[in-house]
Symmetry: C2
Subunit: 316 residues, 2 copies
Amino acid sequence: MELEFLGTGSGQPSKFRNVASVALRLLDERNAVWLFDVGEATQHQILKTTIRPRKIEKIFISHLHGDHIFGLPGLLSSRSFQGADRNEPLTIYGPKGLRSFISAALRVSETHLSYPIHYVEIEEGVIFEDETFKVIAAPLRHRMESWGFRVEEKPHQGELLINKVKADKIPAGPVYGQLKAGETVQLADGRVVNGKDYLGPEQPGRVITIIFDTMPSDSELALAKGADVLVHEATYGMSKEESKMARAHGHSTSRDAANLAVKAGAKKLVLTHISARYIGPLLQRFIGDVHHVFGQVYVARDLDVIDVPFEKEQHD
Amino acid sequence: MELEFLGTGSGQPSKFRNVASVALRLLDERNAVWLFDVGEATQHQILKTTIRPRKIEKIFISHLHGDHIFGLPGLLSSRSFQGADRNEPLTIYGPKGLRSFISAALRVSETHLSYPIHYVEIEEGVIFEDETFKVIAAPLRHRMESWGFRVEEKPHQGELLINKVKADKIPAGPVYGQLKAGETVQLADGRVVNGKDYLGPEQPGRVITIIFDTMPSDSELALAKGADVLVHEATYGMSKEESKMARAHGHSTSRDAANLAVKAGAKKLVLTHISARYIGPLLQRFIGDVHHVFGQVYVARDLDVIDVPFEKEQHD
Ligand SMILES: [Zn+2]
Ligand SMILES: [Zn+2]
């Protein structure tokens, strides 16, 4: 599981930061990639990565500002070209109005996709759940309807307690695999053993929280609680003047994001949606300032990949 | 007057060619830039040039396929950001349906532009004319309505025939400027002279023809007649198999474009809208083949600038 930052800028593209998009790479977990927001030229950024458009299984759109959605028509078209012989469906989660924008763009350009799109209009709560993942959405506070996302990996089954297996003199062999899977097995000596008795405790899955455009909002805490990685917009730095600008435009400062990380007990904070004004010394000041508030912070750059490893707890 | 190629690819962006857009730089002529087609990430390409979005005075759209228009919403938005204190209007010439696509994109993203857009729905004939330029549109043959453009610079006034002026013993001074401007002047010795009698013949202005997606079409000849530069799509090379593909997709081969250049007496042919398949040796073969048909050909690359100088004829 990795986060790949396709665009870390705000408002409009600049030489160093494209507009908003971040990919959650779930290739090991489900052979899929999820995108959060698709600013213009997201498909161009993807060309610089190893992501294959047809692996994109889900797209989550936080809100309908142009710097978060204008890359959709092109990306959807190219995904069709590149996987013409395949028909992997795509699910798009977004605010009301997204579907009609996409439809209008595809209709006017006479684009006929080779795959079906399922649209899900976001409402508060669980918007997706299967055996391995759950995604929760909560409303934020922006100049228009805007949503934050919490991606929860389901708990990992406990490890096989190998010392206990040995203590009970269960002979090595394929039976270990069955026990690992929690199955009940009859041994060669006639004993019936339950795999569940030989597994350590379940281990919690990873949590990724992605919060784009918002002013500080009470709803953020539940989304970010205990996250392994909290990705948060920080359009502005933390001076008084910058704070004012942030509020005037419905945005957060780096301090807002860091405060949330502290309060939520997030393990790591990654800032994105950075105004193009922060380059050179101004960017370094931006970074330095926020480090004082929360040490485990990283200011993303375009094409950065942040690994989110599953760390097995050792049991015996 | 220069042509700057912002995207020279076809269908979808590739690592080496962005989707269609070409800028006609008229900075000396009218302190303006005109764009022809605006594929996705045209504004990103512009960031790599010296073009300022607010200098973009007119946009001409050949047809509504996504690779020719998906960059419009972002470009129009950014033009607004960057010129927030200015309100230079913009005129967009395009097929029916373009206006509603742009409106839908701006409406859903709650984008309020700082400048007015004038829309002109293209019809055959002269679509723009003022003292310095005329633009003529003609229908092409593609999978949907598609238009080609001929940009004619108005004739340049003749040069002052300085030897004739001297032969008639007109004394040097500000009067030369008046004669140059074609005015009638009373000289100090009482003679009345007409500037027009001292000017060489008018010199024809430059002609640029821009023909995007089309199969060979009778309407092309009039557009391209005697052009200083004929910009033409050549999605495919000239083998029999490539020709078949070109026709199947409503496109031209490099041979189609070169044949037109020969027939029309174009001075120079610049090929664009090149399929991403042509890289390395395949591109070199593509270039080599077309050179055999028309020597004055150039296969554009992204960000190429082609100068189109006005060459004064000398008279005496
Ligand atoms: Zn926004
Ligand atoms: Zn086309």
